[in-house]
Amino acid sequence: MTTSQVTGEVIAPRKKRVRPLDLIGRYTALFVLMAFLLLPALWMAFSSLKPNSMLFGSTPDFSLEGVSLDNYRWALRPDGMDMTQLLINTFSTNIMSALLTTVFCAVAGYGLARYKGGLARALVAFLVISQMIQGPMIMVPWYQIAATLDLINTREVLVLIYQTLTIPAAIWLMAGFYRAIPVELEEAAAMDGCSKFGTFWRIILPLSLPGLAAISLYAFILGWNDYQYALILTSSEYSKTLQIGIAQVMNSIGATNWGGILAAGTIAVIPAVIMFSLVQKTLISGLTAGSVKG
């Protein structure tokens, strides 16, 4: 190891040269990767612009002929799939859920970041287990409890159950953001006679706004992505989420209106993509920073 480090310095300047073959290989690999990641979704978006008559040809339709927004009109209008109500349900549920998660994790994340006592490892284990034990392991009791409390088919029950989905990861992310703030700041505030809570409220929290924005949108995306909990807890018009609506349409009229379903799917992706792009940088650095140590 030591010898190689010595020789490493000698060779460093030569690294700058890039062979053309390398470049071709690199960009081909990038192209293949992006094709795999993006083409499936783009194929949905592209096909959603075509009338059903052209979607059921003897070959897939790659042409630009007949492009229109008719399928989107069907998806959004009351005489079609009426997605507006679904969008209202999903947005309001997830905004509430994201706000709740953010408040919880803004406070608890600070605790997790600074607490160094004996229970720290137990806390982390508790969070990791919560993160992993999902869906089928808890859904039946949740359904029973919701039925007992008369909460089936409400947005409130989704807001509550989404906390189990969002809190473990969000608190972890938030703790990471807090750890990046130097402890010296807090010590200086304590010297000036600021209480611990005052320090948190007046100094640490304002510094953490980008992190808070990131975890609230992260919670929003996780809720937006949920299917299993909405599936067992909601089916009524004013509570069910986008995904439930789309799945119901797909299972009932399915193959007879591919165009409409593809349009509905495209509509359902767009908000999540926009939300993600808003906080992409903070979120990606947060997600990766927390994991490297693990």
Binding site: T7, G8, P40, A108, I133, L160, P168, S277
Partner: protein, 316 residues
Amino acid sequence: MASPSIRQTAPPPSRHRTRGVRMRSWYDKTGFWLLLLLPVLITLAVFQFYPLLETLRMGWTDEGARTADPGFVGAQNFERLLTEDPHFWGIVRNSFIWVFLSVILQLVIGTLAALVLNSKIALRSVWRGLLMVPWVTPTVVVGVIWRWIFEGSNSGLANFFLTRLGVFDQPTVFLASEFWVWPVLLFASTWKGVPFVTLLVLAALQGVPQDLHESAAVDGAGRVKRFFHVTIPSIRGTLFTTGMISLVTTWFKFELIWALTNGGPGFATSILPTYVYTWAFNRLEYGMAGAVATLALVIIFVVAAMYALLFRDKES
């Protein structure tokens, strides 16, 4: 929340330690932080751990929507699953196939993708952002996307290419075939799962010291050799953790299969999580659902322990 501010006075010299001061220092070092954590801990205990314990308890009862007077029945549910149930062992086998293939595909493709996105390319941050598109795509829409590509008629992309290449003479209805339904599911799970793996591996790759690579190159190691002898050992810890996360989360995830096949045709793509759903919400036998969930938990616990024993980095 105003109480902490009362205790602001400067601490008296330590030789005059009183009980109050000791309390204060405990509060400063531990109590305050635990107080901040308390709301979340209570939330998770109520919303997550209580339902989990309920599920585990339920497996030993005959609770259900049609049971008039439910009570404990001992291990009867488990016996029924292990000895009488015609679908159970097939479903266990499906779960293993599904989890192992999903995890391996996600790890291999995710690592390769991370290598690509870690190399010197133009607009790198744009590609890293676009990487996450499948991750933010809702599960049901993932189902729509892949059902459309694997459409059973002539207009499906997969059928178009496979008939052109001569693999099939005529279009195949993938989702109705007990064999061809699996590639569709694995395509979808790889597509959805790769971005997160890539993200984690990418972060680890950025921590690999560049001079290690350069010195290995000087010693005459080719690209492939360097990958296996420099890159892989450096990111081993991350690969282990990522594999574990992806193993456990895939094991408990039923959404993707539900969105694509509902566990069908028949029970051909049912896995333990979908079977929990079938017992609870189609057959309305909560006791049996609890028993399936309990067995799922026991199996993944054993599998995760074996995984840890086999692959954990012994040096660290």
